[in-house]
Symmetry: C2
Subunit: 354 residues, 2 copies
């Protein structure tokens, strides 16, 4: 009996493939990135994700990854996914703080968590639930999209000896870090990455922060400034995958699972990729330009930056209850996790002589 059914089944298979191809046409989704299609590391995260999805779904779900050079609106990805123009996005949560203030907290915070600490907060410390609370009312899902790794504090033409050295300094430094630095007398400006070398050479600015060796080397910033300061403001920027929730709900459960697993694996892969590219670029830079001088900001500057940062966190927390709960969750988890980071990885590096 089973054998008869099996024969019948085998005969039916070609017919069924045709039937399925009409009953479930493949899902074709569009993803908009906040970067160009060739932007190193970042753009590879959604591309790798899309490849995995196509393979795992056997072509039932395909994702077209569109770079900013095509859609032309890198800082509108949030709106384009929200209004359904695109189904998915790859961007960074803190870009949307002008639209929805509490999106600020889900990328990276000055004096905040390292990438691994932040992944642990998202997954086990209530972070993802808080991110959902911010994004769900907007009809969006936001999931980790890959980490840049710890960012450098920037290139300076003169050595920073104390807070006085910062006074009146024109510096390319956007966002929250710029706001904090401005309270120490820095004049923050935003200049497109590709113009930075010229702006520094012509003394339009005297300092510039971008990302780290992986990007800075191509921008030739080391040719315009000698001092390379270690970071304090972006200990690890987590990118985001954005999903239009209505689109997500329209997918069958197996394709939902495939999409989420592909995003998860690709996010972590991107973090690993970031540190590899940074390490390679830093090795090249040091070999070719041994006169680059690496510096930490002096303690006096760091305490001032921290003081301003803490005051700003209090202002955010006073502004609304959700912000307060997010900040308290982050600070509480970070304090606990940091003790372990120091006892494990940090002590290891210190006791083996680095």
């Amino acid at each position: 009996m089973k054998s008869l059914l099996q024969n019948l089944a085998r005969w039916l298979v070609p017919v069924c493939f045709i039937a399925f191809s009409f009953s479930e046409e493949p899902y074709q989704l569009k993803l908009a990135m906040s970067w160009g299609s060739d932007f190193p590391v970042f753009s590879e995260s959604p591309k790798r994700m899309a490849e995995r999805v196509a393979k795992m779904s056997n072509g039932r779900l395909t994702i077209d990854v569109i770079g900013s050079e095509e859609h032309g609106r890198p800082l509108d990805v949030f709106d384009m996914v929200r209004n359904g123009e695109y189904d998915l996005g790859h961007s960074a949560s803190y870009y949307w703080k002008g639209k929805v203030p509490n999106t600020l907290f889900f990328t990276t915070m000055p004096f905040g968590m390292l990438p691994l600490e932040q992944y642990a907060w998202l997954e086990h410390g209530g972070g993802q639930a808080l991110m959902d609370e911010v994004y769900q009312p907007l009809g969006l899902l936001s999931l980790p999209g890959g980490n840049s790794g710890s960012q450098m504090g920037g290139w300076f033409q003169k050595r920073i000896k104390n807070t006085e050295s910062l006074n009146g300094l024109k510096m390319r430094v956007p966002g929250f870090a710029g706001e904090v630095l401005s309270e120490l007398g820095v004049v923050p400006t935003n200049i497109p990455a590709t113009d930075l070398y010229e702006a520094m050479s012509r003394n339009v600015i005297q300092a510039a922060e971008f990302v780290g060796p992986s990007t800075d080397f191509n921008l030739k910033l080391h040719l315009a400034a000698q001092f390379y300061y270690t970071g304090w403001h972006e200990p690890g920027a987590e990118l985001q995958f954005l999903i239009n929730d209505e689109v997500y709900q329209s997918l069958p459960a197996d394709l939902q699972a495939i999409l989420k697993a592909a995003m998860r694996a690709s996010a972590y892969d991107t973090y690993v990729h970031s540190v590899d590219v940074s390490a390679q670029a830093w090795a090249d830079m040091r070999r070719q330009f041994p006169t680059i001088r690496v510096k930490d900001f002096p303690d006096e500057v760091m305490s001032e930056l921290r003081r301003v940062n803490e005051r700003k966190l209090v202002e955010f927390a006073d502004d609304n209850d959700q912000a307060r709960r997010i900040i308290e969750s982050q600070l509480g988890y970070q304090a606990m996790m940091r003790n372990w980071t120091l006892l494990s990885d940090y002590s290891y590096l210190e006791s083996i002589g680095r």
Copy 2:
């Protein structure tokens, strides 16, 4: 015309599901773990992987995860997957050094890479290709299975002031670390985890290394020894997923992709889970037992350990060409990557005052 076909297709769908259920019966694989089904963190890695696979494949691929309490052969997982008794395994590569010496190098090495550094080596520094070179001739695939995070150096009843303090010390410390320590006069023994507290209380041993706060707290080691030393010998043990290659080749391409992506995502998730559990356990331990004294081994001891370790690496490299290539690849990548780790995460922790 299309509408007619669609109607026909819809009518055919229930028939086709029956047809498919006979033509492609679900793949049911068995996975053997080197730990019990309830062993914290480690056992959750393959369980999470199996759940993801079931969802993503819509039940076409299911994996039965079997703990050591059931199969009774935790240290035979390698053989059981190789001979096809089990399709998959979850274990650690260095357990198999007695069978295939060069499997030693793919878990963690004393004075070696931190977990993230090692992931980068595997993916971008040629590490996975070398692991394939070791495992493929055995008919096996070995893939990252999740990381324990940096391990502690162990519990000591007396403070270690110099190499003399180690002389004659009976210590629970298995494997390579035990071999290195024995050259400094330590008498290494292996005692089951659950007997460690009693062995220390009755002075059968005076020191014990196991994993870290996540496991040590339950074993009550802090009640038998006061000094908790930071680690040098296992900066991050990467577990492994083992796949019988013949079984892997028998799967359709989409299920192969699903299996690999689920393993990748679950491996990273397990690393994140490890640090969360370690941090929570360490916070509890410190709160409840504030008299625990954390120590780094003195420089004299560390240089001796490093000297012995380096001599052993030379012995391995002299033994066979494959070992030499693996060691050279690891040391070369680590030297490059460590410079970036120190410039980024380490400098960040140091300059913000930790």
